[in-house]
């Protein structure tokens, strides 16, 4: 298994930062369509292991992310951008818990 690539989709600062850290694939989308396109492109890459996307961008393509996160690889991770966390991931988590355990639990 060679899922060794990392990709970043985010605003300019996030992308610059991770570029310095050695991430080679990156996109700075300017609208939701571009975000979706980049996401699907990275997702289709058989070498991709991890896709990092910032929460504000993730919010615009929520449906696509939910669809894609059914498959185990690559992993899609939401991270807060420089304005801080928006709590978008809590929603995803809650849905997971609800489906697994059958009841909604605040964690």
């Amino acid at each position: 298994m060679i899922n060794d690539k990392i990709a970043v989709i985010g605003d300019r600062d996030t992308v610059i930062g991770f570029r310095m850290a050695g991430v080679k694939e990156s996109t700075i989308p300017s609208n939701p369509d571009e975000t979706r396109e980049a996401l699907v492109d990275y997702f289709r890459d058989p070498d991709m292991g991890l896709i990092i996307i910032t929460e504000p961008l993730a919010k615009t393509v929520e449906k696509t992310i939910l669809e894609l996160s059914v498959s185990p690889v690559p992993v899609i991770v939401l991270i807060p951008d420089r304005s801080g966390s928006t709590g978008a991931y809590e929603k995803v988590l809650k849905e997971l818990v609800r489906r697994a355990v059958g009841i909604e639990i605040d964690i």
Partner: protein, 213 residues
């Protein structure tokens, strides 16, 4: 009342076979229930861990962004971008899997190739170095988060699947087997009573004939 399995013959052989099957189904049901419970426990443990790592990621990123701002202030945004896109550092992901109660979960780690001179030292500020190391740190935390998140996801899937199997056994398979066992028992008993009556009848006819002779 659940349905009797179609195509059952009311024989003793079939009854024995079905009894064994019921026993097996019940044992499977107990095992699966145990599996489900321990999976759920593991699930909550992992979720707690995930929350912790999430916080680590957030604080690491906040630090990284503030050092990015500092680097930009000293070197100018355009130069930082230039350096970022010409960075020679190469980071790869190493993914293996391990098994956690029959669920394959990923184990990820970060591999970094840092050249001796990643960028022109006289042209860059020390802030750039600090920023780079901060982002690498954040990336490490993110990789850890990805690992735990996909573990949680796979556990959730496995729990769903196990739950479905448990309830299928509980609501369909076991009642159906039990109903079939009951059906065969009744049929056998009925046949026994018929036999008994038939013997009685034959006996009384024989004795009638003997009396007549």
């Amino acid at each position: 009342m659940s349905k009797v399995l179609p195509g059952t013959k009311a024989t003793r052989m079939e009854l024995l076979r079905l009894k064994n099957r019921t026993k097996l189904a019940e044992r499977g049901h107990d095992l699966l229930k145990e599996k489900r419970d321990s999976l759920i426990m593991e699930f909550f443990n992992t979720i707690a861990e995930m929350k912790e790592i999430r916080q680590q990621v957030e604080s690491a990123l906040a630090e990284a962004f503030s050092s990015l701002t500092q680097a930009k202030m000293i070197m100018g945004p355009a130069r930082v971008i230039e350096f970022a896109y010409s960075s020679q550092v190469e980071t790869r992901l190493e993914t293996t899997t391990r098994s956690m109660m029959g669920v394959r979960v990923p184990v990820m780690s970060l591999q970094q190739d840092v050249p001796e001179l990643p960028y022109s030292l006289p042209d860059s500020s020390v802030k750039l170095d600090i920023m780079t190391s901060k982002f690498v740190e954040a990336l490490r935390a993110i990789v850890r988060l990805a690992e735990v998140e996909s573990t949680v996801r796979r556990l959730a899937l496995e729990i769903e699947r196990t739950k479905r199997r448990v309830s299928a056994l509980e609501a369909v398979v076991i009642p159906r087997l039990e109903a079939t066992v009951r059906f065969i028992k009744l049929a056998l008993e009925e046949r026994e009573r018929e036999d008994f009556y038939r013997i009685k009848l034959v006996k009384s006819r024989i004795s009638e004939r003997q009396d007549a002779e």
